[in-house]
Amino acid sequence: MEWIYIGLTIFFWGLAPVFDKTALKTVDPAIGISVRMIWAALAMILFVLFSGKTETVINFPFKNISFLFVSASVSLLGYLFYFKALSKGNASKVVPAVAIFPLVTAIIAFCIMGEPFSIQKLSAVILIVSGIFLLH
């Protein structure tokens, strides 16, 4: 059953940038992000209300919510540059190229958070860098 869910995830995540790219031919990236994010926020507000989780959300620790706000802000800035790249370049190049962001997370996790590094991760870095070099 989980492979059906994985397939649906790939389908929906894979198709979303095609719609973004088409709309960005005529719309400013910041306006595009506004429409996209406000819509997502409304959908999430409805989800929280209808799933009966309002109390849980209201009682979330302030520290955790602050971290999520910081994460959302940093991610939004990323979206702004992603949309700028997507409006200028081909989706088949920009989407795979930005997909390497877990590499930056892994480097930060290794350097700052002291998470373990392995030969597997080193192989991953070599493959990603080679891929980006080929895509350039």
């Binding site: 994985i6 995830t9 389908f11 709309a23 999430m44 919510i65 999520l68 991610s75 190049k93 190229a97």
Partner: protein, 136 residues
Amino acid sequence: MEWFFIGLTIVLWGISPVFDKMALNAIDPVLAVAIRMMAAGSIMFIYVFVFNKAEVIKKLDLKSIILFVTASSFSLLGFVFYFKALSGGFASKIVPAAATYPLFTSIIAFLIMKEPFSIKKLAAIIFIITGVALIK
């Protein structure tokens, strides 16, 4: 120029999960996604009003709005199936499998948007996806 924007996106999206990780120590991941989306929506809502962009959004053509709303909904649906897969299987299998979605975007971009295709591009995408799968 698009590589400059791609680089900034990678750095910002790479940093963002570090804050998610700090926030996720005692809260439900699905609700964390909901709060993160609501935070992003609120920030963009404030941006629209502070920078007087409401008029620009009102003047957007229906096609662009439908494209962004569809992209946003597809991303959210992707999240729903991703979490459903994660709840039923091993993260070590599901996370790398879901990370292959840029390949699907590229295939759609080649087939529907008629973006140029080359063996070099295909090799690059496979290298990047394999690398990202290994790092996750």
